[in-house]
Amino acid sequence: MSKLTGAEIFIESLKREQVEVIFGYPGGKNIPIYNLLYDNPFKHILVRHEQAAAHAADGYARSTGKVGVCLATSGPGATNLVTGLATAYMDSVPVVAFTGQVDTKSIGTDAFQEADIRGITMPVTKHNYLVTDIKDLARTIKEAFYIARTGRPGPVLVDMPVDVLGARMEFDYPEKVDLPGYEPDLTTNGGKLERLAEEINSAEKPLIFAGGGVITSGAAEVLRELARKARIPVITSLMGLGAYPIDDELSLGMPGMHGSRYANYALCEADLLIGVGVRFDDRVTGRLDAFAPKAKIVHIDIDPAEINKNVDTFISLVGDAKEVLSKLLPLVEEIERKEWLAQVAEWKRKYPLAYKDESRDIKPQAVVQELNRLTGGKAIIVTEVGQHQMWAAQYYNYSYPRNFITSGGLGTMGFGLPASIGAQVGREGELVIDISGDGSFQMNVQELATISEYNLPVKIVIINNGTLGMVRQWQELLHQKRYSSTILKNPDFVKLADAYGIKGIRIENKDELAVKLNEALEYDGPVLVDAVVAWEENVWPMVPPGAGNHEMIGGEQDDK
């Protein structure tokens, strides 16, 4: 067998993992890999900042279900990945990040562009490696992909010193992984399924709370069957949007801090709450002692460490959501639950998500609603973080898994633009819209260059209120309107788009909203829309920080 260099082993290993695309940025310590990428073994997308490489790999993974791959050099290249890895970690997204490293002899000497990226990323990766011997390289890559995609997925980093990339070794890609300390499936539900089914069959006001785990495990379909068979209403966390069709009669959308009133009312009244692939995040629970006060709480999750972490559970089942729900389905009875469903329908009718559309200004919610109408709820929506993210969650009708790509746990501003690159590369030919805010957008604005270079037909819609809106909203409500550092002096976004060779459209008048948004969506290529909206609009309803879900304020139809 002929010997390959470490860099060649890297390429061959990635081929074995069926990698289709790498998002990356070259530098001194990954040149041996870039030398091989010159021959196009697979697609490489050159981003303009390593953070964007990580977010793009993340967006690719979320939108396709495959493992996303990013590549950076040592030192600053590697540290620039950190926010992206932390984002993927919080939302359980399978990403494998590769970094170049100074040669093994120089490690620890504070060499040029040296950073201990393994040490730095330990708390924000599922696992990570520093490969100091070429004989470990292929096995490590195999393990990295395996760990990233199995169990509760997450990011894995592999740090590769440049001399390892240059050394030679026979290539032997292992068939299997041997990780005695890694057990991705800990399913142990002896008797609990039957108990849960009994609870469901005898509950009067059951409620399903579906999260990102439903999407990750591909359980959306069986969830639908279960909910419809047993007639159980469904709320979805931010990460779970798309796990259940929002316009279904049983759907109550998103609960929590900026959830709908009807979802929060249901949470407060339910007698059995069935959490599937959720982690009972503080944005959903509000004050813990007021969370789902009348409900026995059931928790189904693949990660045993999530059980009883934030809330005490009555029954917990560790396992893959799809598997557990599939086994549960035949055990639940078809029950009418007329009273409960009538109550839920009444809340939906009485307290719809609403905003006042009285002013001459464009309302941000209207922009999202219009996008929903024009796309029939079928586009892939990517967001940044802030008010626009919440409006995008509230006013777009998600009906399909993997069509809503957002940074839920970490709440990373600047996520959306690079993530939309990943989504567009992964789902070529489909409509990808980055619903953005004028603040977040500027955090990775350099990626306009990437979008332009590869002519990725992403539609960027900036909900431009000239402020860091979510913080401004808190300042308005909790800090006497002292708008400290939240009013922005922005560039001319249309001119900026133009400078990158991207079509720019500004919308300032209400009556041209539909026409111009349609023009943007119809355009063959990337577009940036600068939608100038009412600047002091708030996200309603809102559960104030530290309050219980029953204490939400604002957003009632008459509460204007």
Partner: protein, 162 residues
């Protein structure tokens, strides 16, 4: 109610593992009372004896979070009533010639050993349960303790009696 709980954790004997474990404890705000690590009968693995201050719920969290680390092979909570647990201490105390015999007497009582002597100090090696070591330290305080080093607790389950 928190109490001291002992975890015996088998981990892969690889660089960075200790840092992963202590990093997890600090990141998740768990309290380590003591941590001891050493090779096992199998050089591929190390065993850590970790004493934590935790209530039941936190202990469950600690165990599940530790279990998620790829390099953690096994976690056992040791039952205090069925283990052999030891702490080893080296203690250097002031000792004038006139105090020497009194110190030797104390050392004998605790079945400790004198391992070094100088004109005005004595070094004592003591092995035993943490409470015994603490009792010895308490008594030695009268003479003026110069240095203490302790291994922290190491423990193993007792053999099963058939």
């Amino acid at each position: 109610m928190t109490s001291k709980r002992i975890l015996s954790v088998t981990v892969a004997n690889k660089p960075g593992v200790l840092s992963r474990i202590t990093g997890l404890f600090s990141r998740r705000n768990y309290n380590i009372n003591s941590l001891n690590v050493g090779e096992t009968e199998n050089p591929e693995y190390s065993r850590m004896t970790i004493v934590v201050d935790a209530d039941d719920r936190t202990l469950e969290q600690i165990k599940s979070q530790l279990d998620k680390l790829v390099e953690v092979i096994q976690i056992t909570e040791l039952d205090r009533t069925n283990i052999v647990d030891r702490d080893l201490a080296l203690i250097r105390v002031n000792s004038s010639r006139s105090q020497r015999s009194e110190i030797i007497q104390i050392v004998d009582t605790f079945r400790a050993r004198i391992v070094d002597l100088s004109t005005d100090t004595i070094m004592i090696e003591a092995t035993g349960t943490p409470s015994k070591i603490e009792a010895l330290i308490e008594i030695l305080k009268d003479f003026g303790i110069i240095d203490i080093v302790r291994t922290g607790l190491v423990a193993l389950n007792r053999g099963v009696v058939e």
